[in-house]
Amino acid sequence: MNTVEKQLLNEPKRIVQNVITAVIVIVFLMWSLTAVDLSNFTSNGVDIAKNILHGIVTPNTDLLFTFNTNGVPYLLLETMAIAFLGTIVGAILAIPLAFLSASNIVPKPIAFIIRLLLIFVRTIPAIVYGLMFIRVTGPGPFAGVLTMALTSIGMLSKLFVDIIEDLEVNILESLESIGCTTFEKIRYGIIPQLSAMFLSVAIYRFDMNLRDAAILGLVGAGGIGAPLIFAMNGYKWSEVGSILIGLMVLILLIEFFSNKIRNKIVRG
């Protein structure tokens, strides 16, 4: 046997590992396939699909260009306001929570407890928050703002923590060596490092909140969601079309600008 053949025998064999992975994936796939249930699918479905498509491509232009509180432009404005305020309130609340769950700032047990709390905050679906806040404020966009704020906290604090844990601490040492107080260390050593990244993350979340705004409509917490869902439940597909078109154009525009702004912020 020459050296080449010997070396060939040394080839790391991944067969067992690959087979196990494949089996696991296939088992999960088969298991999840049991969720496929086409028994409710009727030939009706195709007609409905056609109707929906037809409605969406022939939107109700009246609704699209009416400038009172029932028109699409105002609803979009209200949705943006909800997402904007929700993001700001959520971001403000997320900052202390993030610091409290960063393991390089507070003792490990405290960080762990806060993290657990955050998981709960994140798991509760927006609908439930919506219902809880409607008791506080009554139905309307105010409840929407509070709901958005609470649902934003989960993701924002998680991303904030990542940023905090990447913090460059050497700078603090050098600031201390020039004789800075704790406040000065935070003001000149920490905030400049964090603010740009935090802002970028918050803008990203604003983008997401706008997409999720439709959910608020389910519980009557303001925004464009409620009219959208009413229209869908009433099979008024051309109204659905005009609302969807408005929403999609807005989301694309906001995404375009938010990407631009975030690039500017992060790259300086």
């Binding site: 050296t3 080449v4 053949e5 060939l8 040394n10 080839e11 790391p12």
Partner: protein
């Protein structure tokens, strides 16, 4: 045999990178192409395997008119020509062996291609190519854990496994230290002699070029200004290749 006849290369932006090139290289030659940065060395090399198209003139590789090839014919041409890059251009996340095996892929049936399944014969051939470059022991190491010189040898092994008749090397030693650079140049020399492969190297180290290559082609702003045996290159000739511009300006004024 590679034959340039009145070849001109104009880039899309209108820049003429090669002007009226006439050059014949026989099978089994070891040619070093030298010249200033921007002279057109890379352009010249990349025309040979149609990584670039020529604008006018004719370019024959083994009696095939390169500029007339299309689609899969181009890929067939490239199968017979190996190319080596300054930055090795290996797939970083996978082992040396897998990098070498990639050279068999174009000839494999579709299903093997998609799944990435190689035959035992192919593995042995790839290992032999690694062995020829003296890095058999690194076969199962990820290439990003190898030194620059070792990576260039994996790249050479990949090219050898392809069994080309021509090797084009674009500054293969530019990112290596002097000792490793010499070793790699010796590797080229060995391949050239043992397997009678044509080797064309773009290189900035004139000493290495003169020491290892048998023929030198000097390029200045897209034109061949010297073509002859390495043994006959003098300081005046080097001056002419590298400082020609300066010379021209001086005499012009």
């Amino acid at each position: 045999m590679i034959k340039f006849q009145n070849v001109q290369k104009k880039y899309d932006n209108g820049y003429v990178a090669l002007k009226d090139i006439n050059l014949t290289i026989d099978q089994g030659e070891y040619v070093a192409v030298i010249g200033l940065s921007g002279a057109g060395k890379s352009t010249l090399l990349r025309c040979v395997n149609r990584m670039h198209d020529i604008s006018t003139g004719s370019l024959l590789v083994n009696d095939v008119e390169v500029s007339k090839l299309k689609g899969s014919e181009i890929r067939n041409l490239r199968r017979g020509i190996g190319m080596i890059f300054q930055s090795f251009n290996l797939v970083n996340r996978i082992s040396s062996l897998k990098n070498v095996l990639v050279s068999f892929v174009p000839d494999m049936p579709m299903w093997r291609k998609v799944l990435g399944l190689y035959t035992k014969q192919q593995k042995i051939e790839a290992l032999e190519a690694l062995d020829r470059m003296n890095i058999l022991d690194k076969a199962f190491i990820r290439v990003d854990q190898l030194s620059g010189g070792q990576q260039q040898r994996v790249a050479l092994a990949r090219t050898l496994a392809q069994k080309p008749s021509i090797i084009l090397a674009d500054e293969p030693v530019a990112s290596l230290d002097p000792i490793t650079a010499k070793q790699v140049m010796t590797d080229f020399q060995r391949i050239n002699k043992e397997m009678n492969m044509t080797v064309i190297i773009n290189i900035h180290h004139v000493d290495l070029a003169l020491e290892y290559a048998t023929r030198i082609v000097g390029i200045r702003s897209g034109e061949i200004v010297y073509d002859g045996p390495a043994s006959e290159v003098t300081d005046e000739i080097l001056d002419h290749i590298y400082n020609g511009k300066l010379e021209e300006e001086l005499t012009g004024n």
